[in-house]
Symmetry: C2
Subunit: 329 residues, 2 copies
Amino acid sequence: MLRRVLDVLPALPGGGGEGVPHLILGPGDDAAAFAWPGGGTLLLTTDAAEEGVHFDRRLHPLRAIGRRAVAAAVSDIAAMGGRPVGTLISLVAPPAEETAAARIAEAAAERAAELGAPLVGGNITAGERIGLHVAVAGAGTPGAPLLRRRGAKPGDGLFVTGSLGGAALGLSLLRRRKEGETTPLDPEEEALVARQLDPAPRLDAGAALAGAAHAGMDLSDGLALDLHRLAVASGVGACVQAARVPLAGRGAQSLEAALFGGEDYELLIAGPRQTVRAAAREAEVPLTQVGRVTAAGEGIRLERADGVAEPLPRRGWDSWTAGRRNPKS
Amino acid sequence: MLRRVLDVLPALPGGGGEGVPHLILGPGDDAAAFAWPGGGTLLLTTDAAEEGVHFDRRLHPLRAIGRRAVAAAVSDIAAMGGRPVGTLISLVAPPAEETAAARIAEAAAERAAELGAPLVGGNITAGERIGLHVAVAGAGTPGAPLLRRRGAKPGDGLFVTGSLGGAALGLSLLRRRKEGETTPLDPEEEALVARQLDPAPRLDAGAALAGAAHAGMDLSDGLALDLHRLAVASGVGACVQAARVPLAGRGAQSLEAALFGGEDYELLIAGPRQTVRAAAREAEVPLTQVGRVTAAGEGIRLERADGVAEPLPRRGWDSWTAGRRNPKS
């Protein structure tokens, strides 16, 4: 219901006359956008990291809590093809946890500075559990259109950056260690854990692909759920070929993690194949075609390795239902 | 400790070259500021409303929770002399409280639109208590300098807009009613309750006074604590004359509420008397001189009605200590 409230708001009036920033894109995409008087586009987005929902202090070090919350919010700016400008945090912590809260804030500040979006304001409130709320302002890439969820056309290629499923597999490894598993991690496993603890938003890819793609978004909740969102926003269908999905892991769970795991913060891109590939090559962005955009009537499908296509369920990571029935961590 | 972390950050680098927004004011003031390429100033601020700290659901209706959280954040933009542009919310709510959360979000959206800063993004996370985190982006008033906490000079007049103490007195009235008091509120009491439940940021006053004042901030935590902050930022002392403080209430607690109560969201202004008074008159802003800025060595004093001056304690409303020892509501 709340998400409906938030989705119903885009019809709000934008600004009041000359010299005033003018709303050009309201809720429903990765970030909102305003045309700034005199030129440029202001992007705004917010994200949350709540204890017991987005992180588990038995698995996530304090430093990771701060760093990944900032990276997740900045990823929404990357998903619009923009660059982050500044970061705000609002932190809730139990009164006895002041030292832990300071460590989280320091890590958030460190990551924000690394990503070019210095932490410029914050506040702390006493509460029962640790919660970190991050807002990021960004600027659109000059000369490039915004990379929106809407705009994909039947016939477009469907692409993802990097590899998928790593963050979810990394979380599984962290859980196994908490449960007593003591075999040292090999370098490949270390890399998966790093995807969970310290994700990297695809800022260069977003900026490079904004002008070439028809539509795009970041993969925060798994390819399946996020593809459904992009398809609904664009009014299209899509077919993903399982064998083409670039998997971060090698085990039996790797495809499942890529489709339904979330928190990878790679980009999902739809657009004309040649143009998108050329832009990725020029910017040295690792990009893989995973399928194609189809007519809306064909639905969202997964083509298995044997060539049989089945519906791809609208399922993935959701901070609202996760906290309710099935805590993620 | 966390507040120290947040205060230590302003030395961060600002932006990376031409065409990129450049940081001109980091943490420590009411909002951060960036010079936007091509002209104008981007302002960013965040504020929180946490259940049991900033509000009490036995006293505050759901609608008030949403409206006052947005007004408080927008007040930080008013305190810089700017105009709000857009609002983001990050909401935490217990899974069983989805309807309440939606009501709060609707109220936040309503108030944001009224204040010219449409709600353009938000998310909801399952958590144990209701928490509403609001981030607001704004724009500096074209042609006027930012109204900063720093800049007050000995000899300046010290002014406040409107009247003080109303929000704290309104909260007391709400508490008395909860405890069984049933006498109907008279119109004056209704007005005090409205100050608590539905505060109005001083946007016109901030914009009108930014060019005339030397320094300013909003009164979110009581005149005493906020005056200490302005004096420290400016490196000055100050003397407030108790008899001149415009009191929202009439009872014995009215001065105490004005000095230490908080949540009034009026503005505290320091500047040359004639210039500030003329700007207020022209913009029809209700402004009262309450004292004067002095040399730092004279400290922060309160001059009682009998002419005796005593130190004004650095005491007021604090979301961190309030949640710890002495919940506000």
